[in-house]
């Protein structure tokens, strides 16, 4: 009855990860978490291998195995511990993503780990929102090396107070951490109930089988690719400083039911904050292969999916940055370009399954002053698909965060949104059209500091098989009668009455227009 049990336990495990997400989302305080669902929950086994995850944000989920691998050996795990970290160089993504890890014991035996990662609206640093154009990790915010938030059931008050008091909104941070912890407790409760019902040995056995099952499915997919080598290169616009046209190169080699993805030829890490950590690069690779896997069925996402995929990155490059480089946008921007590069290469191997480049940026905007910190991302055009147009005004690939309702935003912050619309005709033409980007117009009712981190302002999203590229994005400041074009990455001070207009890129077209 293995076939039946796989489906039963797959459902049981993923229901737990889902439930953790519900608890977190509905009781958290950061708009990033509650409105935009910028968080992820996952279950790992005692070896640190992924057993189940809820479908939240791809850029987190693929990175969590890396986190677990890094953190597992650092502690002697005890009942009632919770470890906290946001260290990008220890399997993290960027500083605002705070990760909590909890070991789950059953009758004194360590059996599982639970992880909850969530994007907090602010973790200190020079600029509100902790998403700014910087050059050093310590400027970006507070770096929490893996440490105890709770030790043997006791909250480490001195750490917590010390940490939150350095932030712009300690009340909100404390609320979010409470919500994250509540989510872990819920997950723990459910796993223990499962142990009681089915027994630990059964759960261990079935989680191994689930991994083998997903591995087998991934191998089936990889077998469908022609053996051989596929390469592609695309460029990041700039790093916010002097570096321009930063190449990311990939070489993908298929061999029977395995694949090697090699980024060694990519650019060295740069001064500005677009450096991606190794964990982020792994996320992008997993995202692409999991989406391909989806074309042959709905399989549980766990360690097994990753086994047939070998990823090579060179330490010190823009896809595997090291301390103390700035990484805030590596997670949100570079991750998208890594996906573009992977898709470009894979369009040779799976021509019927690969879309043209999507908007390729999350169009991050962080706004704040001494009273508040707010951060949001704006969707764009989706690349056209073989047989289908791309979707308009939507988040693609490594993110899927919701927008904040205009009425919620205006109620809480000194801002007015004057326009939120599709950017007509920004999608690339082709047999199938790329999706249109978005336009969002902010009017500031108070002076604020603003950071924009965006890409695809210089290099357009590419089309495939003769499709035209999507339109590039634009960032514009309106001050009185002046209209100032802003660079893709910028920190600036705005005054009352200033306006910022963000126009996001369209998706690339697919196939020649007839």
């Amino acid at each position: 009855m293995r076939a039946v049990e796989l489906e039963i336990f797959n459902n049981l495990f993923s229901a737990i990860a889902d439930e953790m997400g519900i608890v977190l989302r509905r009781s958290s305080f950061s708009p990033n978490i509650r409105e935009r669902c910028d968080f992820s929950c996952a279950i790992f086994d005692e070896k640190g291998e992924l057993v189940a995850q809820a479908s939240h944000i791809p850029v987190h989920l693929g990175a969590m195995p890396e986190t677990m691998k890094n953190i597992l050996p650092l502690f002697k795990w005890d009942k009632g511990d919770v470890i906290i970290t946001n260290d990008p160089f220890c399997g993290g993504t960027h500083l605002p993503d705070i990760t909590l890890i909890k070991p789950v014991f059953y009758q004194n035996e360590l059996i599982f780990f639970l992880i909850v990662r969530a994007h907090h609206a602010d973790v200190g640093g020079k600029y509100a929102g902790s998403m700014a154009v910087t050059t050093h990790i310590e400027e970006e915010g507070i770096l929490i090396r893996p440490t105890y938030l709770v030790k043997k059931g006791k909250i480490q008050e001195s750490f917590l107070k010390d940490f939150i008091n350095k932030l712009r909104n300690p009340y909100e941070r404390e609320g979010d951490l409470k919500a994250q912890n509540a989510s872990l407790l819920r997950g723990e409760k459910r796993l223990i109930e499962m142990c009681e019902k089915y027994g630990v040995s059964k759960l261990k056995e079935i989680s191994e089988e689930l991994k083998d099952y997903s591995q087998k499915a991934m191998e089936k997919l990889l077998e469908k690719a022609p053996s051989g080598e596929f390469s592609f290169v695309d460029y990041l616009d700039d790093d916010g400083f002097r570096e321009k046209d930063i190449p990311i190169k990939v070489k993908i080699v298929f061999e029977k039911n395995k694949v090697t993805v090699d980024f060694s030829e990519s650019a060295p890490q740069v001064k500005g904050c677009i450096n991606a950590t190794k964990a982020v690069t792994h996320s992008a690779v997993y995202y692409v292969f999991l989406s391909l896997l989806n074309t042959i069925g709905a399989y549980p996402v766990n360690e097994g999916c990753f086994r047939p995929i070998k990823i090579i990155t060179k330490s010190g490059t823009v896809v595997s940055a090291t301390y103390p480089s700035a990484v805030a946008a590596g997670n949100v921007e570079t991750s998208q370009r890594i996906v573009d590069v992977l898709l470009g290469a894979l369009s040779g191997a799976f021509p019927d399954l690969i879309p043209s480049a999507s908007c390729g940026t999350m169009n991050n905007i962080a706004i704040g002053n001494e009273n508040f910190a707010y951060y949001e991302t704006i969707g764009g055009g989706m690349g056209a698909r073989p047989g289908k147009d791309g979707l308009n005004g939507v988040h693609t690939h490594m993110t899927n965060t919701l927008n904040t309702p205009v009425e919620a935003l205006e109620h809480e912050y000194p801002l007015r949104i004057e326009r939120y619309a599709l950017r007509k005709n920004s999608g690339g033409k082709g047999k199938y059209r790329g999706g249109d980007g978005l336009v969002r117009e902010y009017l500031f009712l108070n002076s604020c500091s603003v950071t924009i981190l965006s890409e695809r302002r210089i290099h357009s999203p590419y089309g495939l098989f003769g499709g035209e590229p999507g339109k590039k994005g634009e960032n514009i400041l309106i001050r009185g009668k002046e209209k100032i074009y802003l660079p893709g990455k910028v920190n600036l001070q705005v005054r009352e009455g200033d306006k910022i207009i963000i126009k996001t890129p369209g998706g690339g077209g697919w196939g020649k227009e007839e």
Binding site: R2, A3, L6, E7, I8, N10, N11, L12, A15, E19, V23, R25, R26, S27, S28, F29, P31, R34, E35, C37, S55, P58, G175, K178, A182, K216, A217, Y287, S291, L293, N294, T295, G297, I354, G379, M382, R385, G387, K388, L391, N392, G393, V394, H395, T396, N400, T401, L402, N403, P405, V406, E407, E410, H411, R416, R419, Y420, A421, L422, L438
Partner: protein, 647 residues
């Protein structure tokens, strides 16, 4: 005499009370013009009915098939595209070929007007006549059948929407204002709800108009998704409120039945052909304001029913990794499961037939013979892939279907801080009886109630549902501003009562329930709390129950105020007559985890009140089969209701 008629996918059911006895009629539904079946059922009554409560799927179907009216959507300039952008997220993450929900408004019929109200409700850009003229010109050139209006921040100040409605009145088409349909914050949800209403209003009005012409001597009332009925005019104006009235009827039926047996904590289980509906009731019927209609938010109060894509017609298959899957694809009623004779889809119904739990000769009272050999054939390819026997395969299919359904139960219970063990399961709908024992084992529920009229349960629920009207308003009040809150409540109550009076109903007979949508300041989701003196404590207790923590030092805010006016339903004193036996007692074989076992087949109609029996047994009736597992005791209670207890 009061009558209730529920239009379902296959049958249209009529239920009424005759000298204290509950009677029912069943006719085939007429999907092309549902009123035909309604009138046909009604004409079979010998006595004249005075009141007819009707649950209709006209609105839901028109939306699902995108056959609503041609509408215009008018909003603040700069926001014309909000219905297409939605929340800017894609419905599936790891899917390159994902689609957004199918739109129901044309892009060219969305208009933006130059006007603006700020986040405090202050007009900062007045709505000028020439702006209105601009849109009128376009509407004259390109006429529409219905209009939805949703201006930014109109939930705080409806003056611009009202002004526009007045100027549009000469067009003599329905105009839905967001400040009337849903005066709550979050523009996309409000716009979507308002547009759905505009889209369905003409269809609903037309349908109801026709019914009323044909049934001029009857007082016609329409069931709503909140579980109560409203007048025909009101249902036409607020067509979006008629969505889901069928399932709402079922839940109401379960609620009444539960009360009858002195139960206040129940979970309803309604398994149909393509999906399963589950609702948890703790004292009162719960409602949600986060209902999603085919991809679009419908944020009015809807009975909180959780649906999963597993039903009798769900199709089983083996995926490339070798796991057995069931659904969400369904064979539906047509072509239906393999045993219906039109397809070779291996479904859950086929699995039950192979296991001997569904009897080919007594299905629908023997009027429709199921073809077991087709089920065996359909399952054989799966059995081969899994290297299992046909019976083991069938058992696997049932187990997987059960786990999918149990996920719905978890959603409504455990995930919201309820323990299913404290609840009684109420099972109705055609297919549920075959799965209910194993589900209750999975969830550790000790008692199951299965009503005799399971086949027309939604209509039964309609018959005893009350008149009901919900009102809401976003207010943004700090929880400690008690005086401000009471003032708001009093005003709001008064205007709600006068509204109901204008509908020709008697507000004196109405009870008034008040709810507060509350949250810790800074959170993004509200908990709906019944208003009482200690509302802050109640909120915090509920917060702890659902999320596991209280934050005492954090400020609490009241986001939205809700008033629910509820009339009294007809007195529910009813009895069921004993029906004629239709099938003699015999023995059959059923496949279980222990292999094939001998099981008696018992005609439900042959059972007497007070009788008890022990599983394993199959209890059959025209529209339902109950598979009573071993270790369950059955007690036949009042009105031939089956009560199953776990031993």
């Amino acid at each position: 005499m009061q009558v209730a008629i529920d239009t379902g996918g296959t049958f249209t059911d009529l239920v009424y009370l005759e000298s204290g006895f509950l009677k029912s009629k069943k006719v085939f539904s007429t999907p092309k013009d549902p009123s035909e079946a309604v009138l046909k059922a009604f004409s079979q009554l010998s006595d004249k009915a005075k009141i007819l409560i009707h649950g209709s799927t006209v609105g839901t179907n028109a939306f699902l098939e995108r056959k609503g009216a041609k509408i215009a959507f008018i909003t603040t300039s700069g926001f014309e595209d909000i219905l297409f952008i939605g929340r800017q997220a894609r419905p599936k993450l790891y899917d390159f070929f994902v689609e957004k929900p199918r739109p129901f408004v044309l892009e060219k019929n969305c208009f933006g007007l130059n006007e603006r109200i700020d986040a405090r409700g202050k007009v900062i850009k007045p709505l000028e006549p020439h702006e209105i003229e601009k849109v009128l010109k376009k509407l004259r050139k390109n006429p529409v059948e219905s209009i939805a209006v949703c201006f930014i921040n109109s939930y705080l100040n409806p003056s611009h929407e009202k002004k526009l409605k007045k100027e549009l009145s000469f067009l003599e088409i329905p105009v839905s204002l967001s400040s009337e349909i849903l005066p709550e914050f979050r523009e996309f949800e409000r716009a979507s709800t308002t547009a759905i209403n505009a889209y369905l209003s003409p269809v609903m009005s037309k349908y109801l108009g026709k019914l009323r012409d044909k049934l001029s001597e009857v007082n016609l009332y329409i069931q709503q998704s909140n579980g109560g009925w409203m007048t025909v005019e009101e249902a036409g104006r607020f067509a979006s409120h008629t969505i889901l009235s069928g399932p709402a009827g079922g839940v109401n039926g379960a609620y009444i039945l539960a009360k009858y047996f002195g139960k206040s904590k129940i979970i309803t289980f309604d398994m149909g052909g393509t999906s399963t509906d589950v609702c948890l009731i703790d004292e009162r019927i719960p409602f949600t304001k986060e209902y999603n209609l085919d991809g679009f938010p419908l944020s009015i109060p809807v009975i909180d029913i959780h649906t999963v894509g597993a039903g009798g017609g769900s199709i089983a298959y083996v995926d490339e990794g070798g796991a057995l899957k069931v659904g969400p694809e369904s064979a539906g009623a047509d072509p239906g499961p393999a045993c219906y004779g039109k397809s070779l889809f291996p479904t859950v119904t086929d699995a039950n037939l192979v296991l001997g739990r569904l009897l080919p000769d007594v299905f629908l009272g023997g009027k429709f013979k199921l073809q077991k050999e087709r089920s065996l054939k359909a399952l054989s390819s799966i059995a081969k892939k899994l290297n299992l026997s046909l019976e083991e395969t069938a058992l696997g299919i049932v187990r997987v279907a059960n786990i999918v359904m149990s996920r719905a139960f978890r959603r409504v219970s455990l995930e919201r801080g309820y323990d299913p063990q404290d609840f009684t399961l109420i099972c109705f709908g055609g297919a549920g009886g075959l799965h209910v024992c194993s589900l209750s084992r999975e969830l550790e529920i000790k008692e199951i109630i299965i009503p005799k009229l399971a086949g027309s349960f939604s209509a039964f629920g309609l018959l005893f549902s009350p008149p009901l009207k919900d009102f809401s308003q976003t207010v943004w009040i700090e929880s400690k501003e008690k005086k401000k809150l009471t003032e708001h409540i009093e005003n709001f109550k008064r205007s709600a009562l006068s509204y109901v009076k204008k509908l020709g109903l008697e507000p004196d007979n109405f009870t008034c329930e008040i709810f507060l949508d509350m949250r810790y300041k800074g959170q993004g989701f509200e908990l709906t709390i019944p208003y009482s003196e200690d509302y802050i404590d109640v909120f915090e207790k509920e917060h702890e129950k659902q999320f596991g923590y209280i934050a005492h030092q954090f400020p609490v805010e009241i986001v939205t105020l809700r008033v629910r006016l509820k009339g009294s339903p007809v007195e529910n004193n009813w009895k069921i007559e004993k029906s004629k036996n239709f099938c003699p007692l015999f023995q059959t074989r059923v496949f279980t985890e222990k292999g094939w076992i001998e099981v008696p087949v018992i005609d439900w109609n042959s059972l007497n009140i007070g009788e008890t029996l022990k599983g394993p047994a199959l209890i059959v009736e025209e529209f339902t089969t109950v598979w009573v597992e071993e270790n369950f005791q059955v007690k036949v209670d009042e009105n031939y209701t089956l009560r199953l207890f776990k031993l």
